[in-house]
């Protein structure tokens, strides 16, 4: 797989993101497969930010370890990103602002100074330096300028002719300058295998939002929090067209309780948040559990604990997601691994939540949630809406006017058919206290045991493996690498590298953590001589789950990263090689 990696960096608030966006959107439209990763800090202006795009001829889920082209608006961008640059890479930098210094002479890097700022000033608006840089990038990768200009037309449609022309001019200026001054420089793009204007370019958060919509979710209650707010924006933009409602709640407790209310009243409802919000939802989670009300929570994990690293990625909420809330409830925990899966798995989440009448938590993370990739297609038909045991009006009518047994103990697998408000003969009280079959509060010891057993055994018939485990299908292997969620792509690439180095490596990626897919994990772990568990956290939460569920303590070894960034392929390769 040939690829090219490009990055633009500068101070927050300088328009770095939109530079990246325009570059990426154009290439996506041309039919390249991209993966774009945004790095930013928890402050609004100033601070270093960058936008990296990896361009490939095949679908990819990771932005790559290294870098071919760096566009630098300041020296800090060079300093902070230099380590990524390959030999024979180039740095395009704003020579009207600074004289670039390269921190390491051993890496062969070509410096391409361009007076970005000055050009922009000439055009009358310093923010245009971004477009000049985009034009230069276009030239550097040997593309024609037209498709970029078309993207400009589209994006700035609403802003009017003047703005469009200014942007077009800036791009052209950068393009021309680069062609003229660095005619010898052209970094080859990989083959273009996708059709033009075919692939979607979207984030995990966007896929989650659209997936929820397709799942029939028509109510989102949420409170703003990085890196989950985008889900809310997406819902605000797209739910109304389908009669769906979105409310900005006063806090996450309210958001979660509203979603419970919505589900109780028969609308598929969800809330989206990140760690701090999740912690605030712990009591509500228990209410959904004991009252057997469906509930979908999306946790876009970020660096913890507390406020932690609000704009960085981590996979460290797993423990709280699985074990949080006092007392004991059934729950399902899903961890999609790609943008596409963010779309499909949120749909499964709604189906499972209504089928098992229990909360389902979808745990993604900032890396998956906010990174953008080229998606070949989304199949809106693949996951059918299955609303579980919702009673029909006539079924309820037939049942007579006696008190409705919402928590009927004789129900198969402990899942009792639900009614929703407005339905005749279906009245009941959903409550957080222990209760009888009718929902009436009880402290009776027998009833308590029966209700606990009913709830806790509901998931016995659910086979988590059906939902989500990726296995690389090696028949023979010595080393097993296990991960969950967004680390999929890097582990996958690492596996290839390790195989090339002659190691017999298999890869197991979990997409569901609770109920735990014990059978397959057990089978593979038993076959392995050594097992590496790869996680973006400090305590090895998945490793602990495996120990708890499978045992095999001595075989397991953790490779952890918890500095806020996603794994590189190299870190995984190195980590494994050092220990096998």
């Amino acid at each position: 797989m040939k690829d090219l990696k490009w990055k633009v960096g500068g101070a927050q608030g300088e328009g770095i993101d939109s530079t990246g966006e325009i570059f990426a959107i154009t290439l996506n439209r041309l039919g390249y497969y991209l993966f774009a990763y945004r790095h930013f800090m928890s402050l609004v202006k100033g601070g270093h930010t960058n936008y990296k795009v990896r361009i490939s001829s095949e679908p990819i889920n990771y932005h790559g370890d290294d870098l071919d082209i760096l566009i630098a608006f300041d020296q800090r961008t060079i300093d902070e990103n230099f380590y990524e640059l390959k030999n024979n890479s180039i740095i395009i930098y704003d020579s009207s602002k600074f004289e670039a210094k390269t921190p390491d002479e051993n890496v062969k890097v070509t410096l391409c100074p361009i007076p970005l700022y000055d050009f922009a000033k000439e055009l009358g608006n310093s923010i245009m330096k971004n477009m000049v840089a985009t034009g230069a990038s276009c030239a550097a990768v040997g593309l024609e300028v037209t498709p970029f200009l078309e993207v400009i037309d589209d994006i700035f449609k609403k802003k009017g002719e003047k703005i469009i022309n200014l942007n077009r001019e800036a791009i052209q200026k950068g393009f021309n300058y680069f062609r003229e001054n660095y005619p010898e420089i052209k970094l080859d793009l990989p083959d273009k295998k996708g059709k033009e204007k075919q692939n979607l370019f979207m984030t995990g958060n966007e896929a989650t939002g659209i997936g929820a919509l397709n799942a029939g979710c028509r109510f989102l209650a949420a409170y703003p929090i990085t890196p989950a707010t985008e889900i809310m924006y997406n819902a605000i933009a797209n739910f109304p067209k389908f009669g769906g409602k979105v409310i900005q709640a006063e806090d996450e407790i309210a958001a979660c309780m509203m979603a419970i209310g919505g589900n109780f009243a028969g609308v598929r409802s969800m809330t989206s948040t990140s760690g701090p919000g999740l912690s605030l939802m712990m009591e509500a989670l228990g209410l959904a559990g004991i009252s057997e009300t469906p509930l979908v929570i999306v946790d876009v994990q970020r660096g913890g604990p507390a406020t932690g690293l609000p704009t960085k990625t981590e996979q460290s909420d797993i423990n709280e997601i699985i074990y949080g809330s006092h007392g004991e409830i059934p729950r399902i925990v899903i961890t999609p691994t790609t943008v596409e899966e963010a779309f499909y798995y949120i749909q499964h989440a709604f189906n499972l939540s209504e089928k098992y009448q229990c909360p389902v938590i979808v745990a993604t993370d900032m890396f998956l949630g906010m990174s953008k990739k080229s998606v070949t297609d989304l199949d809106f038909e693949r996951v059918k809406i299955d609303r579980g045991l919702l009673l029909k009006d006539d079924e309820l009518l037939k049942s007579g006017t006696g008190t409705f047994k919402r928590y009927d103990l004789s129900s198969e697998f402990g899942i009792s058919p639900r009614s929703i408000p407005g339905q005749k003969n279906g009245r009941y009280v959903a409550l957080g206290n222990e209760h009888e079959e009718t929902g009436y509060e009880t402290e009776d010891v027998e009833m308590r045991m029966k209700m606990m057993d009913k709830r806790m055994h509901k998931l016995n018939q659910f086979n988590p493996e059906e939902l989500g485990v990726y296995y690389s299908e090696e028949d023979e292997f010595e080393t097993l690498v296990i991960g969950f969620g967004s680390t999929h792509a890097q582990i996958n690439e690492a596996q290839k590298v390790l195989k090339e180095k002659g190691l017999k490596v298999a890869h197991l990626q979990l997409k569901i953590l609770h109920p735990f897919p014990s059978n397959i994990v057990k089978e593979k772990v038993e076959k392995a001589q050594k097992v590496f568990v790869i996680e973006n956290n400090a305590t090895g939460q998945l490793r602990q789950l495996i120990q708890l569920e499978i045992g095999a303590h001595v075989k397991l070894s953790s490779i952890l990263k918890y500095n806020g960034n996603p794994f590189t392929v190299n870190e995984i390769v190195d980590g494994i090689i050092r220990k096998v």
Partner: protein, 287 residues
């Protein structure tokens, strides 16, 4: 025809004999019957407390949720299906203590629900602690030397922050209370009804007798103008908030009519299929 009995359940409430909450329940049942509401079309959402058990004793759909969290659940229910008559209820501890943040935000949104607070100036279910509306100097297990805190003024707070219907009733006057409940339920928008509902077991100060002695009945004041906020505030102040009647009412759009995604059809009744052309349109947003 719906009759009073339709709103009654078979089991008896577990409140202490004489507790004010009994009459609140009865008044709500009467109001619902008088308005000809369908039990199947009503949802009564409560928090946790003696008062909050009312959702188990009232025959409609109900959620007996978490301490302090009735309002967000009620909001969720209403937005999911605005054809439902949604009543939220709970105690003063529940609504003005742990839950006061939700109170503030729900009322300013003007969600179309009726919120009944059964205010006994004490935490009943947890057997008698000072509540956020207990009078200054009030003695309880948690304030043995008398409460050192200024009580909250929920009615005034509601009026000032945009509640469109604010009233107060007394469990000792079931007829007025029933009328107020009816008006509150009929009102389109957030109706805040504080009901003095004495705790006969733990509050030996603010008893039925005490309220009877101190209460001023707005129904007897022919010159009271319930469309004037400042009139209401001043009146409450003058009478130490010990007033019954409709204090303030205002007509303005309710939240589900103006919110993001507002629809005529209740959300719960919408068809969920996404037509092919729509899924293609959605995908096109990302190209």
């Amino acid at each position: 025809m719906v009759i009073l009995k339709d709103f009654k359940v078979e089991t008896n409430p577990t409140w202490c004999p004489g507790c004010g909450h009994y009459t609140v329940l009865a008044a709500l049942q009467r109001a619902a019957a008088n308005l000809g509401l369908e039990p199947d079309n009503m949802v009564l959402v409560t928090g946790i407390g003696c008062s909050s058990k009312i959702s188990q004793h009232f025959n409609s759909y109900g959620v007996h949720s978490l301490h302090g969290r009735a309002l967000p659940v009620a909001t969720g229910v209403k937005l999911a299906n605005h054809d439902l008559t949604v009543v939220a209820a709970g105690g003063d501890g529940d609504g003005y203590g742990i839950g006061v943040g939700h109170f503030m935000h729900t009322l300013r949104r003007n969600i179309d629900i009726t919120y009944i607070v059964m205010d006994n100036h004490i935490y009943g279910l947890t057997t008698g602690q000072t509540s956020p509306v207990s009078q200054k100097g009030f003695k309880s297990k948690t304030s043995p030397h008398g409460s050192a805190e200024e009580p909250l003024r929920p009615l005034q707070t509601a009026i000032i922050n945009g509640a469109s219907f604010v009233a107060q009733a007394f469990a000792g006057d079931i007829n007025q209370m029933t009328r107020i409940f009816e008006e509150g339920i009929k009102h389109r928008g957030f109706s805040h009804i504080n009901v003095f509902s004495p705790c006969v077991t733990f509050n030996k100060i603010n008893t039925f007798e005490w309220f009877k002695e101190h209460l001023v009945n707005l129904d007897e004041k022919s010159d009271y103008d319930y469309t004037n906020k400042y009139h209401a505030l001043e009146f409450l102040d003058r009478h130490g908030s010990i007033v019954t009647g409709i204090l303030y009412q205002e007509d303005r759009p309710t939240y589900h009519e103006v919110m993001i995604g507002a629809t005529k059809t209740p959300t719960s009744k919408l068809d969920l299929t996404i037509p092919k052309e729509e899924s293609e349109r959605l995908k096109a947003l990302f190209r």
